[in-house]
């Protein structure tokens, strides 16, 4: 087991260093910074793996291995997109470091997850407070009023709210005995989704709903609830298409982006050009023009990967995500108690939906909703939250092995 992990890690170091080495020579001159970045990420992975495998050998190490490998794609791409001004890459690698640190901290100090079960009203109050805080304190960035500013740090409360929603709903599910209970326990969730739509944060709304319905199904195995939830959601979706102009615009752009190619659909059209340019093998790292896509380092980083790594590289990344989600759900299966199990399901499906919604959005498979690609997109708050979720998963996996032995 341990030997396998080491072989995998070695190939990860090799791929990471190769990518950074290519970056150092691909802009006409030899550049030392990417090499330094490559080595520091590798050292980070080496040390974090060492700590986890030595002091907490019972947990699932692949969660860390996979997520840090996926993060390398993001780092490489962010450096490549801002090669003239590498401040973003340096920031991102700091976020990565902080993320790993928080993850360690959680693994070491977090009490067992099942102890969190009692505080369910606290979670839902925090969730709703976080979401409504942006309505009062929020600043409008990129058309969505879902950011608040603390000092010089912009953050999206909806990212953290997701986690609290999972904690709340995991403990609520066992109270659901009949239809009336289901409705009662779901009201806070619908309030949260409503708030998100008001803030024009459609992507987060979609993910909230995805998490909610997945957990409801896993917890109750009752298709009647799922069906009613879907009907309510569809009804709400169609209503908001007619009520809110921003919802309608998104759908119209999705249906025919080239009709809006110089205006509101500019970004998605540029993204499609990038994907089309990539073809099967991609243009090669540093040889494409992904910088033509506005905000490419953020929501649209997947299109940049498609352009330079091609369909093959993009599929490889998607496979890595499948493995990560699989490891998360596997943790849920081996967990000892139902609460931990539901939390693990919630976190895994949160990652899965987020990945699906953002990749589907930038490739025009589904309407575009501005959210970040986990572990890859540039951004501190999303990186932090992803590692926090991972820490919780790790903790659950650890206790799961304990119970298994």
């Amino acid at each position: 087991m341990k030997k396998e992990e080491k072989t995998i890690l070695k190939s990860i170091y090799l791929v990471t260093l190769l990518m950074f080495f290519q970056l150092s020579i691909s802009f006409g001159k030899f550049d030392f910074l990417p090499i330094i970045l490559g080595f520091s990420s590798c050292i980070l992975i080496v040390s974090s793996y060492f700590i986890i495998s030595h002091f907490f050998p019972r947990g699932d190490k692949y969660l860390l291995i996979l997520s840090s490998f996926i993060t390398q794609f993001g780092l490489v791409m962010i450096y490549r997109l801002n090669s003239q001004n590498p401040i973003r890459t340096v920031k991102q690698i700091s976020f990565f470091t902080i993320g790993i640190a928080v993850y360690m901290f959680l693994v070491i100090f977090l009490p067992e997850i099942k102890k969190f079960e009692r505080l369910r009203y606290v979670y839902i109050i925090i969730t709703i407070l976080l979401l409504s805080s942006t309505l009062i304190l929020g600043r409008e960035i990129k058309g969505s009023k879902n950011w608040i500013k603390i000092g010089s740090f912009n953050m999206q409360p909806s990212e953290i709210a997701k986690l609290f929603l999972i904690l709340y709903f995991a403990s609520s599910i066992k109270y659901i005995k009949n239809y009336y209970d289901a409705l009662k326990e779901s009201i806070p969730v619908f309030i949260s989704i409503g708030l998100l739509v008001l803030e024009k944060d459609l992507g987060a709304g979609l993910i909230f709903f995805g998490i909610y319905i997945t957990m409801l199904y896993i917890g109750t195995s009752n298709f009647k609830y799922i069906l009613s939830a879907v009907i309510i959601f569809l009804f709400g979706g169609i209503a908001s298409y007619f009520i809110f102009p921003h919802v309608k615009v998104r759908v119209d752009i999705w249906l025919n982006p080239f009709a809006y190619k110089t205006g509101k659909g500019y970004q998605i059209c540029q993204s499609l050009f990038a994907i089309a340019q990539g073809g099967l093998f991609g243009t090669g790292l540093g040889l494409g023009y992904p910088q033509f896509i506005p905000e490419v380092h953020n929501d649209f980083i997947f299109s940049a990967i498609c352009e330079e790594f091609g369909l093959l590289g993009a599929s490889a990344l998607i496979l890595l995500y499948i493995l990560l989600v699989y490891r998360g759900l596997r943790t849920a299966i081996y967990a000892t108690d139902d609460y931990s199990r539901l939390v693990a399901v919630g976190i895994s499906s949160m990652l899965a939906f987020q990945i699906f919604v953002v990749i589907g959005g930038v490739t025009k498979m589904i309407p575009m909703t501005g959210i970040t690609l986990p572990f890859v997109s540039y951004g501190g708050s999303s990186m932090l939250l992803n590692f926090i979720s991972l820490g919780v998963l790790q903790k659950i996996s650890e206790s799961g092995w304990e119970g298994h032995e």
Binding site: G219, I333, V345, S349, G360, T363
Partner: protein, 482 residues
């Protein structure tokens, strides 16, 4: 809560997520196979401009190698396109603008000019290209040699002067377009500043290529076709004679001759010479619409005329012959003299004249003679191709004789050139509800061995024998002088 159920549900969830993610991969594969080729050349894709700027855009030259359009690198690394003769070639070369896109040769041959196409398998050229890449030399696009004769083109442009109209000259034996001018024209050098001004001009419509895209009744020039139909379908018609009284009465409708002149007893040859509407109107009613239409379709009316080139750079509007009621003699008589339901453009009418000149065989027109790379290696050459066998050689010869008479002593005597046998036909196109008439002239010369066929239209230019005939004469004179 049932523990086993929970685990089973989670396993279902794993399958569900795998399904979703593989769905994305399948969608991306589909996108790359079927969608990407369609969207990648959209003009809002900035990659195209970056790629294009890597190579210096190729030249456009006339048939003798005179440079007409060239590009130069500017200080800032971008390139600028120079149109040496500005408006003279506007409708042929088109424009090339970052903001407004491309048109004409610049659009149709964009891949050639920007050097993107390598599918011309000249091994020497491919080898030179390879060496250039290895040596890191600046790469250049391919050069396009037109069939245009620069001197004739300039002359044609000047002859049309400030008139609104168009003129086309074709080599009847090959279909090469020797000159093509439409007035008013625009200056492709100034397109970035003046695009909106050109676009707003609703009277001159400078972007309209009247030579190929015009929509005019051909008037009496259509009698070439009516006469061909008469000789083809009616036995012994050239020995019969008609009795013209200046007014052909068909039911309630009266078809007048020009100035209501009566020509008296007249045969087909003389009727053609003086362009007698009475005679041709009655021939039309005798033939019936269907026979007339068949002959017109032999001359490519109601049919798309594609260029013989690699890519279509000129879109020739379909000449039309139609009628609301097949049985109506009055309308057939009008169609027979090139009015009512008949429309055409100078390019098409030049082809009609050219096919009479070329013993009844219409050659497919083309404007790109050769494509050569920057080292002058030949990559592509257009070969002349027959478009349609329009009429028998005997009939073509007869029509040719009629057309010689038109210039010698008929309505086209203004076009006479000393020492050259010149065949032509005038036309005066009337527009419904308007007093002005468009002046048409189609011709070819020398009659015994035709080198050039022309068609000229001048909007509101009066009768065909006047301004259009003079322009055609000067064009032919300029071309044959050499």
């Amino acid at each position: 809560m049932n523990n086993k159920n929970l685990v089973k549900n989670i396993k279902i969830l794993v399958v569900f997520f795998c399904f979703c993610f593989f769905g994305i991969i399948i969608y991306l594969t589909y996108f790359n196979l079927f969608v990407s080729q369609k969207i990648i050349n959209d003009n809002s894709n900035p990659r195209l401009k970056v790629e294009e700027n890597k190579r210096l855009r190729g030249l456009i030259l006339d048939r003798y190698g005179n440079v007409l359009v060239y590009s130069k690198r500017l200080q800032n690394g971008k390139q600028k396109r120079y149109y040496k003769y500005g408006a003279v070639y506007a409708h042929i070369t088109g424009y090339n603008s970052v903001i407004y896109g491309k048109s004409g040769i610049e659009l149709a041959y964009n891949d050639v000019l920007s050097g993107k196409t390598l599918n011309y398998n000249n091994p020497i050229s491919l080898f030179k290209r390879f060496i250039d890449i290895v040596m890191n030399k600046e790469r250049k696009g391919n050069n396009i040699f037109l069939t245009i004769d620069d001197e004739l083109q300039q002359k044609t442009y000047n002859l049309l002067g400030d008139n609104i109209g168009a003129a086309v000259a074709i080599n009847p034996k090959t279909g090469e377009i020797l000159s093509m001018v439409s007035k008013p024209s625009f200056d492709p050098n100034l397109i970035e500043d003046k695009f909106n001004e050109y676009n707003k001009d609703s009277i001159g419509v400078p972007f309209l290529n009247r030579a190929a895209q015009g929509y005019y009744p051909p008037g009496s020039t259509f009698k070439i076709i009516t006469a061909s139909a008469a000789l083809n379908y009616i036995d012994n018609i050239d020995n019969n004679s008609f009795k013209c009284n200046g007014r052909l009465k068909i039911g309630d409708y009266i078809l007048n001759d020009y100035n209501k002149e009566s020509h008296g007893k007249i045969n087909l040859k003389n009727a053609f010479k003086v362009s007698c509407n009475y005679t041709f109107g009655s021939i039309g009613t005798k033939l019936g619409f269907e026979k007339l239409r068949n002959m017109a379709e032999n001359f490519m009316f109601n049919k798309d005329i594609p260029l013989n080139d690699e890519y279509d750079s000129i879109n020739i509007k379909e000449g039309k012959i139609k009628i609301e009621n097949y049985k109506s003699s009055a309308l057939t008589a009008q169609d027979a003299i090139g009015q009512h339901g008949v429309t055409s453009n100078p390019m098409h009418m030049a082809l009609v004249a050219a096919s009479i000149a070329n013993k009844g065989v219409m050659m497919q027109p083309y404007i790109v003679k050769q494509i050569r790379d920057d080292n002058n290696n030949l990559l592509y050459e257009t070969k002349p191709k027959i478009l349609k066998n329009s009429v028998d050689e005997k009939i073509a010869d007869k029509i040719k004789d009629y057309m010689i008479e038109v210039v010698k002593s008929g309505t086209g005597s203004n076009a006479k050139i000393y020492g050259i046998t010149f065949a032509g036909k005038t036309g005066t196109a009337q527009l419904e509800g308007k007093n002005e008439t468009h002046s048409w002239f189609v011709a070819f010369a020398p009659a015994q061995d035709p080198q050039i066929a022309v068609a000229v239209i001048v909007e509101n230019g009066g009768t065909g024998g006047s301004v259009a005939a003079r322009i055609a004469r000067e064009m032919i004179k300029a071309y044959l002088k050499k």
